[in-house]
Each structure stands twice: as C-alpha cells, then as structure tokens.
C-alpha cells in the first residue's frame, strides 16, 4: 500500500529536486467525484451498520415479536436487482460510446427503480392493513425505519439520475455523462447490497 509506504517517508531529508515528486500519488487516476462517492458510501454504510447493531441489541429485549414476511419483498428485491443489472449494462454502453443504448438504459433503470419504490410503499400498506403499525412493536418500527431510510437513499439517487438522464435525453455527448452514469451504477449496486442485507436481516429474525 502506497499510503503506508508514504507515511514512512522522512520528509526532513533531501529528496531530490524532481518537481513532480509526490503530488497525489495515492489517488492517481481517481476523479475527485469517485473518491467523494466512495467516502459517502462509507458514511452511508456506517449509518446502516449502526441501525443493524441497534436492531440486534433491541431484539434481545422482552417485548420483541417478529413481523411476518411479505412476499412482495421478494418481488421488490428482483426489481432492484434488475435495476442494478441495467445500470451495469448502461455503464458498459457509455464506455463504448453508444448514445442510443445509454438513453434506453438510463430510462429503463429509472422505471425499474420507481417500480421498486412503489413496491416498497405497497409493502408498507400491506403491513399497515394487516395491523402491523409502526409503533405497535419494535420489530415493526425497525422494519419501517430501515426500509424508509433505504428508500430515501434510493430517492436521493433518483435525483442524480434525473439530472444525468435529462442530459442524455437532451442530446448531450456520451462523454459528458460517462462519469455520472458510472457513479450512478456504483451507487445502485451499493444500495442493492444494503437492501439485500436488510432483507436478509428482516427475513431471518
């Protein structure tokens, strides 16, 4: 790891007068937006991880009674998985420069994402109609909070998606949107992973 190598440098010694010595050696080739997105995902990861830790601690207490599983969640998982696949495909298309494919890919991914959000809201309704209200049991509270927070992150992603898709549809060059398509795909994969963890947690406990 060059980070560890570089913190063993002895900066007080004469190090040659190559003016290009050093600089951003550990981040080379990564666009600042890529780094910022990864840092952001790490922060989001910590948020979900803390909720999950809290879930396990709270689960041990007496008043916990698990919720039934909704089959709708399997359908939603499939929808979100399809989004991720389409995003990945679009990313490949953007790399090759296929403007038409990027257009279709972005729009399709958006439609499936909206379907996922709709599916999640329907799952809430289903639970609510069956009498599993937010406040009636901590298991329910965690179900609504975790799915809600995940949904909010999806909506945040859709905001970025809207901007890039708008650019694509208004005829911007593929080069101009390549990076944002790539970042969208990374974000979608991440949220798929988070969702799978949440889903597994809700199903098995």
């Amino acid at each position: 790891m060059s980070f560890f190598k570089s913190i063993f440098e002895k900066p007080w010694n004469y190090q040659g007068d190559d003016p290009n010595f050093g600089g951003s050696e550990i981040a080379q080739g990564l666009h600042p937006k890529r780094i910022a997105l990864r840092m952001f995902l790490a922060v989001v990861f910590v948020i979900f991880m803390l909720f999950i830790v809290a879930y396990f601690i709270r689960m041990e207490l007496d008043d916990w009674s698990p919720m039934p599983e909704s089959n709708l969640l399997w359908v939603n998982s499939l929808l979100l998985f399809i989004c991720s696949v389409i995003m990945q495909w679009t990313r490949g298309a953007a790399k090759k420069g296929g403007a038409q494919s990027v257009k279709y890919g972005m729009v399709a991914a958006g439609i499936f994402t909206l379907a996922f959000v709709y599916g999640q809201v329907s799952a809430w309704e289903e639970m609510n109609n069956a009498g599993y209200y937010l406040a009636s049991n901590p298991a329910n509270s965690f179900f609504y909070v975790l799915t809600g927070l995940h949904g909010l992150h999806i909506l945040g992603g859709l905001w970025v998606w809207t901007r890039s898709t708008f650019k694509v549809l208004s005829g911007a060059e593929v080069k101009a949107v390549k990076l944002s398509v790539e970042l969208c795909s990374v974000y979608w994969h991440f949220l798929l992973l988070v969702w799978l963890v949440i889903f597994a947690l809700l199903s098995y406990t």
């Binding site: 913190i7 007080w12 080379q28």
Partner: protein, 588 residues
C-alpha cells in the same frame, strides 16, 4: 503526471464580481471559512453568556430570581451542545479546515466549491433551528447535552415538547452540513495537492484536520441514527429507547425500549467527537509552536502517526463515559484499558511539543503565548483524564465537580487556547492587517490565569464531593461553608474571563478597521499559505501558476542558510547560503 491537474485548470475558476457573489453566496474557500468562523463565534458568544448565567446561579444561589431550575438546566444543555458541536467542531473544521487545507497543500480551492458553499448555509440553517428553540413554548431542551432518554422526551423535563424536537432536527441538519464539508476536505487533501506536496510534507495542521474529518464522517452517523430513533420515539410513539414507564401517574404507551442503547450510540459519536476537536487543535498548535520557536517540529513522523493512532483508538473507548450505567465489570475493564492506551500517543505529542521548544529561538508573540498556554492546560486536563479513565476512580468522582474540571480543562480551555493561538497567528493572512499586540497579551494573561482560577478549585470541590448537575446545593451536611465561598470565587473568575473575551472581540474588529497593514509573511513562516503572491490571498490563491514544493514545512534555523527559515516553495538553487554553495538540504 503525478499530480491531478484539476487544481491547475484556469477554467475551474469562478471569479466572482458583484459584492453578493463575492461575500455572501461565495464559493471561495477563504470566504466560506470566515463565514463558518463568524457564525461559530457568534453562537459561541451565546453559549458563553449562558455559562455566565449558570455561574451566577451556582455562586450566589437564591439571589437571581429570574433563573429557575428549569432555566438552569436549559442553560446547561444549550451551553454544552453549542460549545462542543456548533462552536468547536464548526470552527476547527469548517473554519480553519476550509481556510488552511487549500492554502497549505497548494490548491486553488476545495475540489467541490459548490458543495462547500452549500455546507456553510446548511450549517447556518442548523444554528437557526437551534436558536429558534429559545423562542418556542417550553423553551429549549434541558435534558443535559447528552440528551439521555427517557427523561429527554418525557414530560417534566424542560423543553420536552418542542425544545428537544428542534435540538434533534438541528443536529441532523448540522450532520448533513458537516458531511458535505467533510467529503470536500478529505477529497481535497487526497486529490488537490500541488507538485511535490507528498503526504509527509503536509503541515501538521492539515494532518490533524484530515484525520479529524475522517473521524467526523464516521462518528456523526451514530448521532444521526440516535437522533432519528429518538425523534420516532418522541413523535410517532415507537419504543426504540423508551422503556415501559409511569410518568406523573400516567402509564405511557412505550414498551421495553433500551435507554442504554442510546447511551452506546451517543458515546460512539461522543468520544470520537472529543478527538474531532482535539486533533485539529494538535495540528494547528504544532505549526504555531514550530514557527515561533524557530525550530523544526520535534519528531514529525511520530506526530503524524500519533494523530492517526489517536484517531483509530478513539473509536474503541466510548464506554468509559458509561462506567456508572451499570455495565459488566469485564466490559469496563476493556474500556479502561483502551482509554489508558490513548495516553501513549498523546503523551508522545506533549513531549514533542516541549522538545520543540527546547533550545528553540523562542519569540513570545501572542500566538506563541496561547500555544504555550495550551501545553499547560492540555497536560493538566490530560492527567486528570487518566484518573477518570480508571473505573474505580471514576465511580465516586463521576457525579462531582471533578469531571467538570477535567472536561473543561481538556476539552474546553485547551482547544480554545489553540483557537486563539490560531486566530492570532493567521489573522494577518486572513485580513492583511496586524492585530494590537498589547491587547492580545492582556487577553492571554487574563484568560490563562482566569481559567485556572475557575477550574483548579473545581478539582478540590470534586474531591469534597460537591455534586455536579445541581441547581443549588441547599443545606448539605458534608460540605463545609468554605465550599460555597469557593463556588462564589469561581463565579467571579468566570465573569472575569467572560468579560476579557470582549477585549479579543474588540481587538479583532478594531484591527480589521484600523489595524496596521502587514506584509504577507509577518511571522517568517515556511508553509505555503504565507507565500501567496497577494496578502490576503486573492481568488484562486496562487496567481497564474501553482507553487512547487521542494521540502517539508519545518525548515527553520537550518545551519549554513542565511535566513532562519526556508519556505517550502523556494527552489534549492535560490536559497542563500553562508558559504555560497547551493543548498540541497541534509541527510539524517
């Protein structure tokens, strides 16, 4: 190319022209830094006033009719929260982070200027929400700055209606603002360093701010998560933290929630928060000490590693704030152990500061006075921390003034000493004017002796068993009358210190208006921010070409060189030597 050209592109610039674009909706990191700083100092003055009110009540109970118990607890809570989060965190990272990172690593600006601007305005929003809680019915929350449930959201606690909701909302908004700024600082340090600026050539200020920002990015989520869950408990009747309980004769709807869960989440944020404040302070004070002692910082690599080590350790010590929550003794043993380990890298830093002063050519300027003051107060507060890190010592002392004294020495006075040192040190760069030195010295001595007069007696009161969190002592048999006299004395000292902060405010405002103009490098410092073509630096910082860095930031009093400092960006062939030979540096 081994550097990223983004910092070098002219078209990344956004030269503002109108007054509003320049000073209000500005994307320039220097303006944003000053906006952050101004807001933080303004809200800090509110917290200072609150502490004076608290002290009046404690020193002279039954004298001030307008302070009732509920208000007293509101003062305590708001004072704590404002000082820790909205003043210290915002001023160190939002203020000095924003100002110094691009200038010290040789960048034109932060890598995401728009996000940076958004960060400061969202921060202002969080401050407004917080201040709004003074004006809602029931007033601000009085739950103590740790906001422990169940009492924080249960009727009977001051501000349990609107106050606590606004507090939680404000914290959530603050965390959003911090995350926007934090992503920027980290990415800028990693990405926008100029030619030759390796990680190990960065001044320690940047290291401290960099590591503290990473801590903040990973610690604030814990506060965010607990704020969300507590808001649900309060507003939607869930039972994440709220146990089944009877309140004022009424059985509440909550069922078996876990208040201790909140404590864990809160302190998982709360302890790193101490270092989010301390690490930038460590970094800034290192640069001030080295510059005014005309000596390289002692053990630079050790200083960097200590910052990183303290940052890592700070995530596994949180439960030492919870010894009194009735934990498993083995659990307490583990956290006492990790807590005491932190003393090692911290002691290394203190030794290195002292050794930097050793045989230095010390210039007792105002920033240097404050930096030396910091070494005293930090050492003092750090040593009492070793007492409290032990479970058996902490248990009897936990609810006494001893904790107040420890905490304020280590987390109150010492970071504030660094803040003053840094403000005085970088004021000539920020404004292009010199402050009044006499007023600065008066400010230092009054603050230094004044804060000791406040906190030193508190250790003694703590040993006597004077309880903290009390509105007034009443008649307490185990306390001698002298304890009350001492409390009155502390109040006098507190008022004294508070009044002398006005000298500082006056000095800054007066110097901005009438101060003597100074050149770009009045302290003869080596780091890049002092080498800008204009003073204060213009938009884009460096003129047409970025500086090239040839060495670290601590080349002071080098043998064989005419001047007693060699700036980072002077090419070796341009350094004037006593023997006329080219200067190539040294080998250890």
């Amino acid at each position: 190319m081994s550097y990223i050209p983004i910092a070098d592109q002219k078209d990344e610039m956004h030269d503002p022209h109108s007054f509003i674009a320049k000073y209000v909706w500005s994307m320039d990191h220097k303006v944003i830094a000053i906006q952050y700083g101004t807001i933080a100092v303004a809200v800090g003055l509110v917290a200072l006033a609150l502490s004076a009110l608290m002290r009046l009540q404690l020193g002279y109970p039954d004298t001030f009719a307008f302070i009732d118990p509920a208000e007293y607890y509101q003062y305590v809570t708001m004072h704590g929260m404002i000082m820790v989060v909205y003043l210290l965190t915002a001023l160190f990272l939002g203020g000095f982070g924003n100002y110094l990172i691009p200038l010290q690593i040789g960048a034109r600006d932060m890598v995401f200027p728009f996000l940076n601007m958004l960060s400061v305005w969202v921060y202002l929003l969080s401050v407004i929400i917080l201040m709004a809680s003074f004006f809602v019915s029931g007033g601000p929350t009085g739950a103590g700055w740790t906001l422990y449930p169940p009492q924080a959201i249960t009727e009977g606690t001051p501000g349990a209606d609107m106050g606590i909701i606004l507090m939680l909302a404000s914290l959530a908004v603050f965390i959003v603002a911090f995350t926007m700024g934090g992503l920027n600082y980290v990415t800028t340090v990693l990405q926008a360093r100029t030619h030759g600026m390796t990680l190990m050539r960065m001044p320690l200020s940047v290291w401290g701010i960099f590591v503290a920002t990473i801590l903040g990015l990973f610690a604030f989520p814990a506060l965010f998560v607990s704020a969300i869950m507590m808001s649900f408990d309060k507003l939607l009747g869930t039972s994440f933290f709220m146990p089944a309980m009877v309140s004022i004769g009424e059985t509440l709807d909550h069922t078996g929630g876990s208040p201790v869960l909140f404590q864990h989440l809160f302190w998982f944020f709360g302890h790193p928060e101490v270092y989010i404040v301390a690490l930038p302070a460590f970094g800034l004070v290192s640069d001030v000490l080295s510059c005014h002692a005309r000596k390289n910082i002692f053990g630079y690599r050790m200083m960097v590693w200590a910052i990183v080590a303290i940052g890592g350790l700070s995530f596994i010590v949180w439960a030492h704030h919870m010894y009194v929550s009735g934990m498993n003794p083995y659990f307490g043993f583990f956290f006492a152990f990790t807590t005491l380990i932190i003393a090692v890298p911290t002691a290394i830093k203190v030794y290195n500061w002292v050794l930097t002063l050793w045989e230095g050519n010390i210039r007792l300027t105002v920033p240097m006075l404050f930096a030396c003051g910091f070494i005293f107060t930090f050492l003092h507060g750090g040593l009492t921390g070793i007492f409290l890190g032990n479970v058996t010592v902490d248990l009897p002392l936990s609810d006494t003034y001893f904790v107040i004294a420890h905490f304020h020495m280590v987390m109150g006075v010492s970071p504030v000493m660094v803040l003053f040192a840094s403000i005085y040190h970088w004021f000539p760069k920020m404004s292009g004017k010199m402050f009044n030195v006499t007023l600065g010295k008066i400010h230092f001595w009054a603050t230094f002796f004044g804060t000791y007069a406040i906190y030193l007696p508190m250790h003694y009161l703590g040993f006597l068993g004077v309880p903290r969190r009390y509105y007034s002592m009443g008649t307490t048999e185990f306390l001698p009358e002298s304890a009350n006299t001492l409390n009155a004395n502390i109040t006098m000292a507190a008022i004294w210190v508070a009044v002398f902060q006005l000298v500082f405010i006056f000095n800054i405002i007066w110097s901005l208006w009438k101060g003597k103009k100074c050149d770009g490098n009045p302290w003869e410092a080596t780091s890049l921010e002092w080498q800008t073509p204009e003073n204060p630096p213009a938009h884009g910082n460096w003129g047409p070409e970025l500086p090239t860095v040839y060495r670290w930031a601590y080349e002071y009093s080098v043998p064989g060189v005419k001047a007693d400092f060699v700036p980072q960006n002077i090419a070796p062939e341009d350094v004037e030597t006593t023997d006329g030979k080219p200067y190539i540096g040294h080998e250890d």
